[in-house]
């Protein structure tokens, strides 16, 4: 149709009409390109919104992880302090040994701060999002990423250091038994010496001090993670989920 019309216009030397015909072809192709671009931009924006949701979920997960770690470490601190209080009197009466052994079991685990960084790294390191993210959001997310990277680095250092310390089950005042509940994956410990001797044992006291120091340090890191995650969620227009702290059963 266009071709016939154009031929007619040229034969009739109607150059204005020929120009219009050209314009229709060019504009048609350009509009087709534009529609493709709009569709691609819409798709990019959709992908960005999904990535943003993942960042929010991740920040909420980190908030929860930090709260869990604080809960578990506070428990550990309480358990250590309870044992130390018992050691001050160093008297086996009234079930002190049984309480001590029960409290010791959960202290054998090193509580780490395993935070999540995948979504935030994807958001900051993928070129697909640069056109959609605002400079303010990018700056704020970049700050959050650096903060949690530092916390992850500190936690790794602390974990590695803990592994260089003597573990309680290597202390000859203990033996491992099949008695009791070992659903936590570790065999129950039992004393090979009297409770009175155990409370004087340097290596055991050293272990308890290690756990206390580790708890103080990791709680500090967890509070930093908690604060950073709260701040980023508020900046993204979300209210941090204040889920009740999970119940911890030693």
């Amino acid at each position: 149709m266009i071709l016939r019309r154009v031929t007619g216009h040229v034969k009739a030397q109607n150059w204005f009409a020929v120009g219009i015909d050209f314009l229709i072809v060019v504009a048609g192709i350009l509009i087709a390109f534009q529609i493709t671009n709009w569709a691609a931009a819409r798709q990019d924006n959709l992908i960005y919104q999904q990535a943003r949701v993942r960042v929010i979920e991740e920040a909420n997960a980190n908030l929860q992880l930090s709260q869990d770690a604080i809960t578990r470490l506070s428990e550990q601190q309480e358990l250590v302090l309870g044992i130390v209080r018992g050691f001050e009197t160093c008297c086996a009466d009234g079930g002190a040994e049984e309480r001590f052994i029960r409290a010791l079991q959960p202290l054998r685990f090193i509580v780490s701060l395993e935070l999540r960084q995948e979504a935030i790294n994807q958001m900051l390191r993928s070129d697909a999002f640069l056109d959609n993210i605002t400079p303010e959001d990018r700056t704020m997310l970049s700050l959050y990423a650096r903060r949690i990277d530092r916390i992850a680095n500190n936690s790794r250092f602390s974990d590695d250091f803990q592994l260089t310390r003597k573990q309680v089950h290597d202390n000859p005042i203990f033996k491992r038994t099949l008695a009791g509940d070992f659903t936590g994956g570790l065999l129950q410990l039992a004393l090979t010496v009297s409770y009175e001797e155990a409370c004087q044992d340097d290596a055991l006291n050293q272990f308890l001090f290690d756990r206390l120091e580790n708890a103080i340090y990791i709680v500090g890191q967890a509070r930093g993670l908690e604060q950073a995650s709260r701040e980023v969620l508020i900046s993204l227009g979300e209210s941090p989920s204040d889920a009740p702290e999970p119940e911890y059963t030693p």
Binding site: L3, V6, T7, V26, R125, S126, D127, L130, L143, D210
Partner: protein, 251 residues
Amino acid sequence: MILRRVTEHVKAQNWFAVGLDFLIVVVGILLAFQITEWSAERQQRIAEGRYLTELARDLQADVDELRGGWEQAWWRLTTAESILRALDPDFESPSFFPAPAPADTLNGAIDRSEYSEYMFAALTTTFILIGTDYTFDELVQSGNLGVLSNRALVTRLAAYYGRHNRKRIEFEIAREQVGPLLAYLRDNGFGMADRATVDDLIRLANSDPRFLGFVKLAYFLAFWQHTQLKLVLADAEATLLALEREIEDRS
């Protein structure tokens, strides 16, 4: 439709119409492609501007982080030095490191008062490099480095981030040296949250040669970090300046 028209013209041996049909389609498409290409080029220049701004923002974050680390290293260095000088008035800093920059050349006063009563925590602290390479990493990963038209700047950025990454690894190795000091403190019942002043540490270093050795180690690490951070900071500032010039030239 086009094929049918062309076939009709060929059958009628209307060669002028056939040529015109081809010409319209070819020229129309070429023109449309050209316009699209101009538009893409314009988009690329906009993207380049955006990338340059983001790179500058990342480098500014690096400068702020490095300056903070430099100030922290300076504070630890002078603290450890004050302990060593109290024990040995003839103490001299190692000649293989350049003399540390005086505190007043730094940006503002160095206030680490929160540590002044927790000297065990202060001595075991080391600065770790995190760095902000998100935009550069994104450019490399996506293969978009070609968006940046100033190739000298690209080379400079690649060199800066390469050096920064190497330093990051070195700083992590340096941090490992703190482990034995931390173990010493734990084994002797000193906690990070225990209050201890410089005078307490002088007394301890005076009575225990092992602790004195650890103070020397902490001093060396702080000195090394201070020296290294000064170089990385100068590198970051110079790269940022080059980027800002590029942004200015483009505007």
